[in-house]
């Protein structure tokens, strides 16, 4: 945390991209915590392939189900990772994939429901070897 304080401009440039992605997904709805749970390792030895999973507590009925979950990597050159689209036929709103992380950063999951609610969870992942090699 102390090392970060020397770089406020970089942090805010990243934050602007991340905030724009969050705003576009939420579409003006207020963002609540809880309900969505993000799972990612605390420490990723290899940033090229970091497992990430998301699970949303939802009845998954036609009337009330999770429609989408967006994953963001706040410290990557481009924050977008993936967007999952669920239906009542999904049965359960959970999904797992593997992603690249350029450096130690926060990973964010946002979930949207058919009833118009938006939930968010975030986790910090420490990366030993970055995954966006140039």
């Amino acid at each position: 945390v102390l090392a970060m304080t020397g770089l406020p401009r970089f942090a805010s440039a990243e934050d602007a991209k991340v905030q724009a992605a969050i705003d576009a997904f939420a579409g003006g709805a207020s963002i609540e915590t809880g309900t969505v749970s993000l799972s990612a390792p605390e420490i990723a030895e290899n940033g090229n392939t970091v497992p990430i999973g998301v699970s949303v507590d939802s009845p998954m009925t036609d009337a009330d189900h999770v429609t989408a979950v967006m994953l963001l990597a706040a410290g990557n050159p481009q924050p977008g990772v993936a967007t999952f689209h669920f239906s009542s036929m999904s049965g359960s709103a959970d999904a797992t994939t593997r992603m690249r992380l350029a450096k130690t950063q926060d990973v964010i999951a946002l979930a949207k429901t058919s009833t118009g609610k938006v939930f968010m969870d975030r986790k910090t992942v420490k990366v030993t070897i970055g995954g966006c090699g140039g």
């Binding site: 090229n48 392939t49 481009q78 999952f84 689209h85 669920f86 036929m89 359960s92 966006c132």
Partner: protein, 108 residues
Amino acid sequence: MSTSKPRVKVPKTASKDEVIQIKTLISHTMESGQRKDDKGNVIPRSIINKFTCEFNGKTVFSCDLEPAISANPYLEFSAKVPETGTFKFTWVDDDGSVYSSESKITVE
């Protein structure tokens, strides 16, 4: 572009309305567009950008993939099985190629 081979793991049987786990993997470099070659030129982006899972013609789950997804993209998700039928999985490449795979499941 080398051919991309999909691999899918789906149970062969389920009870009615059971929620099953599906695992998919497709071989693909997922070139992010962020890397440079040894001459310093940007290597153009080339990724699988869309995955869809249908059951008996209806979309159950889909995913938009960004360049931050690792090579050989892996996806694990759930699906409810209301009846005997066929899951169809489709991957769409940036170059327009479409790869697909089907798995039958029987409700007992």
